[in-house]
Amino acid sequence: MTSHDPGAHDGRNGEPGPGSGRSRDHDLDGAREPERPGGLEAELIALGALLDVPAPPPPDLAAKVRARLQPTDPQEGRPLTDPQGSRLPPDPQESRPLTDPQGSRPPADPRGSRPPTRRSRRSRRWKVVAGVLAVVVAVTAATPQGRAAVAGILRLAGVEIHLDEEAPAPLPGAALLPGERAVPPGDLARHVRFPVRTPSALGPPSAATVSDAGRVASLFWPDGVRLDQFDGGLDPVFFKRVGPPWPQEARVGGLPGWWVQGTHRLGYITRPDGTEVPLRQAGPTLVWQRDGVGHRLEGVPTLGRAVAIADSLK
C-alpha cells in the first residue's frame, strides 16, 4: 500500500501546481473540475453515483460524536476542551501546510479515541433530594448490574431510573435504539401506534426516527435536543442509571415528572424478555407521561426551559 507514501515522487511528471502551498484557500471553491469531462471521465462520475456507501442518518452520527465530546461532569456544564485550545499541546506539525507531501497529519490523540474520564463530584444536595424521593422510591436490595449498590428505583412513564449510591461509570460509545431508522419528520405519526406531538416552543425538527417497530418515535433538533415519545404503558421502555445528584421532581402540565440533571447512563429495555440494551451517556433529561404516552426530552440544559418546551407540546 503506497498511496500515502511520503517518499513517492511522481511529482516529477507534473509541475508543482499553485495549490501545493497554502494557496489552497483560494482555488478550492473555484470552478469544479473536470469542467468538460471527456467520455471516460463522465463515465467514472456516473459509476461513482452507483457505488454503495452505507451511512447512518447524519443526526445519529452527530449525536454520537457529541456524546464522545460531552463533558462527563454534570456539574461542570462545559466541554473539556477550553476555548483557547490550550488543552492541545503545541504541535509543530500543525503549522505545516496540509498539502505537505510529507503527510503532516493531526497527531493521534490518545484521548481522542475514548471518552473523557469521569470526574465525579458528589453533591451535598442529593441528601435533600433523597428525602423527597423517599416517598415514592421503592427501595430494593437488588443490584442488577452487580457492581454498585442501588438505593432505589423510580418508575414513571415507561422509564425506570436506578439510583446508585455512587455514580456509575459512564457508558463508552453510543448505540442506536433497536431498529432505529430515519423517517421524514412530517411522516412520523404514520409509523407509530400512539399520537405523536411536537413542541411549539422549538422550531421544526431537523430529523425524525422511528425505532423498534413503532414503539418509539424520536424527533431531533439541530442543537442537540431530542424528544422521544413512546408507548410507555406499564412496562418500562428505557432505563437510566444515575448517581447523586438524583433526579428531582418536576411538574409538566400539572402532572408529575422527573428531571435528571447532568449526563447519565441510558439504556433501552426490549420486550418481552426485559433485556437491557445499553445505549449511551444521555444529557440532561426531563421524563413525564401524558395520555399514556411516555416522553423523554433530552439535551435542554435547564429544568425551566425543558418544562416550557414540554408544556408546549401540541
Binding site: 500515502h4 478550492l28 469544479r32 456507501v53 452505507p54 481522542g112
Partner: protein, 179 residues
C-alpha cells in the same frame, strides 16, 4: 449558521454548533471513507475523524475551507485502518444498481450499460493504490484537483499526473467501445 460561524462557536466550546457541522458533513465524510477503502467500517472511521477534528479545531486556519481539511483527517483515518488490516475494502455497487441503469443528464452518451459499468468498476478496483485514490477523489467524490491534493497530501502536480496515468490505464482496460 455557516461553517465559519459553526467553527467559531465550536471553538468556544459550543457542542451544539459542532453537532451541526458534523451533521452537515456526515454524508460526504462517510462517502470519502468508504470509497477510499474503509468499506463497512466507514462509520467508525468517520466518528473517529470528527472527534479528532474537534480536538484539532484550534489548529484549523480560519480563512481556509473546512471541507478539505476535514476530508484530509478522514482520509488519514481511513489510511490507518486499511494499513492496519492490510487491505482496502472493495468498491461495491449499490444493491439494485444492476437492474437500474443510471441515466445521467449528460446527453453525450455517458450512460453506462451494465457490462461496460462492470468492466470499468473492475478496472478501477485493479488500479494501483495511488491511482485509485486519485480516481476516487476526482470522479467518485468529485473533488477539485486542489482539494484532492489537500485530502491526499500530494502536490497538485502529482494529482494531475496520477489522475492522467489512471485514466490512460482505464482507457486501455475498457478500450473496445469507447466513443
Amino acid at each position: 449558521m455557516d461553517d465559519d460561524e459553526a467553527i467559531a462557536r465550536s471553538l468556544d466550546g459550543d457542542l451544539a454548533a459542532y453537532e451541526t457541522l458534523v451533521a452537515r458533513y456526515s454524508t460526504l465524510a462517510h462517502r470519502t471513507a468508504a470509497l477510499l477503502g474503509a468499506g463497512d467500517e466507514a462509520e467508525d472511521v468517520v466518528q473517529e475523524a470528527f472527534v479528532k477534528a474537534f480536538r484539532h479545531l484550534p489548529a484549523f486556519r480560519r480563512d481556509a475551507a473546512f471541507r478539505p481539511w476535514l476530508l484530509r483527517i478522514v482520509a488519514n483515518e481511513t489510511h490507518d485502518l486499511t494499513r492496519s488490516r492490510g487491505r482496502r475494502a472493495d468498491l461495491v455497487l449499490r444493491l439494485g444498481a444492476a437492474t437500474d441503469p443510471y441515466a445521467p443528464d449528460d446527453p453525450a452518451g455517458a450512460a453506462l450499460d451494465g457490462d461496460r459499468r462492470d468492466r470499468l468498476l473492475a478496472a478501477v478496483r485493479g488500479l494501483p493504490d495511488r491511482e485509485r485514490g486519485a480516481v476516487v477523489c476526482r470522479y467518485f467524490l468529485q473533488l477539485t484537483e486542489a482539494e484532492t491534493a489537500q485530502v491526499l497530501g500530494w502536490p497538485v502536480g502529482t494529482v494531475k499526473s496520477t489522475t492522467h496515468r489512471a485514466l490512460s490505464r482505464l482507457r486501455e482496460e475498457v478500450a473496445d467501445d469507447l466513443p
